[in-house]
């Protein structure tokens, strides 16, 4: 569904007021996401996971330098095609709840997402109410403003907004952050259900353990590089099936496993 080849991203920064330099945030990233599966992208904060999502959606600032190529359904995904496909074929569940407009009711926001996906007014209303029902948002939640929703409900509104377009690639950026276990498994189940419908789901998270509960493949990222892409089944035992030391260290650092912090990666593992 989505193939990323040698994707590199540099963003400008200003060490002095008049001088502009570029810092590399993504470095020669390659992996592919197949239809009907959940692909987890795991890494510590600052590994470039959210930037990767924004790069695929074409949401980067104008002065970003992007090289390498993405292919969506075997066709090159360039900037005009990203603009044409986002909201229709590509959907993003954003990381922050501040992505919801605090001045609009949730049903309107889902409705707008449907309209933006190209649906005419009345089918859009229908699709919106179906999506809201699908994520068990009742009448009160539909008429509520974002500040009246709980964290889990707001997440489900965001998921409904991505779902309403029936996009074939769904990128979920840290969808479980700040949720209690029950809410978290609810959100993860919803993503797994999308994959069962034949969609490609890219799950961006810093939490390897929860990603593994639904992921089919896992890409481990570190400082903008792809450390390793492996099947989720490789994360077992002592991690002997993993190729890179970093991925193995990440796996062993989990509380369920050795809870063993390799000193070499101590800094990263603490956040991972």
């Amino acid at each position: 569904m989505l193939r990323i080849e040698q994707l590199s991203l540099a963003l400008p920064y200003y060490p002095r007021f008049w001088r502009r330099r570029f810092a590399t945030h993504l470095d020669q990233l390659s992996f592919s996401v197949t239809a009907g599966s959940v692909h987890a992208v795991v890494g510590a904060s600052g590994a470039g996971k959210s930037l990767l999502a924004h790069a695929i959606m074409g949401l980067l600032p104008k002065d970003a330098q992007l090289s390498g190529s993405c292919f969506f359904k075997q066709t090159l995904l360039d900037e005009p095609r990203k603009r044409a496909l986002r909201g229709r074929e590509l959907a993003l569940i954003p990381q922050s709840l501040s992505a919801l407009d605090p001045l609009a009711r949730s049903q309107h926001q889902v409705n707008w997402a449907a309209r933006r996906a190209g649906l005419p007014p009345s089918p859009a209303r229908q699709a919106a109410s179906q999506a809201l029902a699908h994520y068990q948002l009742d009448e009160r939640a539909r008429r509520a403003y974002p500040h009246e929703l709980s964290g889990g409900m707001a997440r489900r509104v965001l998921t409904a907004m991505a779902h309403v377009a029936q996009a074939s690639l769904v990128i979920a950026d840290e969808p479980t952050i700040g949720l209690d276990p029950a809410q978290r498994s609810r959100v993860l189940d919803a993503l797994a259900a999308l994959a069962l419908q034949g969609k490609a789901v890219m799950l961006i998270t810093h939490d390897l353990r929860h990603a593994l509960s639904i992921a089919d493949r896992v890409t481990v990222m570190r400082e903008g590089r792809c450390v390793e892409s492996a099947d989720a089944s490789a994360f077992q035992g002592t991690g002997q099936m993993l190729e890179s030391a970093y991925a193995r260290a990440l796996w062993q650092a989990l509380p369920d496993n050795a809870f063993n912090v390799d000193t070499e990666y101590a800094e990263e593992s603490r956040f991972a």
Binding site: H54, M57, L59, R83, L85, R86, G87, R88, A91, L92, P94, S96, S98, A99, L100, D101, P102, L103, A104, W112, A113, R116, A117, G118, Q136, R140, A141, Y145, H147, E148, S150, G152, M153, R156, M161, A165, Q183
Partner: protein
């Protein structure tokens, strides 16, 4: 039930506060008038002052109560006010209430239309400019807004009179109607014709600050997570400006427009002077220059009342536009 009681208490508190503000404004204005070097009797007599003997002056002063100490005068005024009497203006030889209501009906046509136009125009320009930061349109609108924001009202009014009235002859140079025609005989079209230039001048200037504030809010919105999320849904810039921008930008625009009612009064004083428009602003200048204490106090009270009504309105409109400021009507649902 509890809500009604709370509402009544809140209203009562507001009214009490308003009363205190009015009292403060009245006493400060009165104090300033007492400190003013203009002698009301001299101002009243004008050129006749040379023909009046000191005894006659004494008589006028004692008839009007000017020989009493200031606190006694103020107390007398307060007493009258309590019975609903604002006193008599000696400049216009009319009860103050009548002068204010006459003048205000003329001023409100000028002020109201200028206010409404500058709100609508400023808001639209701000939304359009802020929707795409640093676009050619944004630069043009911003340049215009900065230019007009730094232009003095009276100067622009003078230029307007020079250009449109003197050189081009499109608009009348003064007054609310043709000179020498009784007020009730003036046709509506003629009235409007006389309003065009002052309204245009006031609008042009009022637009600037609303444009700039609306634009700033729009720019912040277009950089926010909300806009990025909308872009991710495939929205165009115009869609985001329309669905999200208008809601978000209306908060600062409303606050500014309603809070600037006072400034508008100030601006109207200058504009009415330049255009010789017989409105409340002109009456204020007359009252000040000729030491007409009852009229000036009346106008000060009226203006204060007007401005605080504007602020109260802003408060309640804010609650309507921004749901976060409302009291939760139902208990918040904690479990999903």
């Amino acid at each position: 039930m509890a809500l009604d009681v709370r509402l009544a208490l809140a209203t009562l508190r507001r009214l009490l506060r308003l009363g205190l503000i009015l009292l403060c404004v009245a006493s400060v204005s009165f104090g300033l008038m007492m400190a003013s070097p203009v002698d009301p009797v001299d101002a009243y007599l004008g050129p006749l002052v040379a023909q009046v003997s000191p005894e006659q002056r004494e008589l006028i002063a004692s008839r009007w109560g000017f020989d009493d100490p200031a606190p006694v005068q103020f107390g007398r005024w307060l007493q009258q006010l309590a019975s609903g009497n604002l006193g008599v203006s000696h400049v216009y030889n009319q009860p103050v209430g009548e002068v204010i209501s006459q003048r205000f009906t003329r001023s409100i046509a000028l002020l109201g239309s200028a206010w409404l136009l500058s709100l609508l125009l400023g808001f639209t320009l701000g939304v359009v400019a802020g929707a795409k930061e640093r676009s050619a349109l944004d630069k043009l609108i911003s340049a215009y807004a900065y230019l007009t924001a730094s232009t003095p009202t009276f100067w622009l009014a003078l230029l307007g009179v020079l250009l449109f009235s003197v050189y081009l002859g499109w608009a009348p140079a003064c007054c609310a109607g043709p000179v020498g025609v009784p007020s009730q005989d003036i046709h509506l079209a003629t009235r409007l014709h006389h309003l065009v230039l002052p309204v245009a001048t006031l609008t042009l200037l009022g637009t600037a600050s609303i444009t700039l504030h609306t634009r700033a809010r729009m720019v912040a919105l277009m950089r926010s997570d909300i806009a990025r999320h909308a872009f991710a849904q495939g929205a165009r810039r115009a869609d985001i400006a329309w669905r999200h921008g208008v809601r978000h930008a209306s908060l600062p625009a409303l606050t500014l427009a309603l809070a600037s009612l006072g400034e508008l009064f100030g601006g109207s004083i200058l504009i009415e002077q330049v255009f010789a428009y017989p409105g409340l602003g002109q009456a204020t200048v007359e009252a000040g220059l000729r030491s007409d204490v009852p009229l000036l106090l009346g106008i000060a009270l009226f203006t204060t009342l007007f401005v605080s009504i504007g602020n109260t309105l802003a408060d309640s409109l804010y609650h309507m536009v921004d749901p976060r400021m409302r009291r939760p009507s139902k208990p918040r649902q904690t479990t999903p």
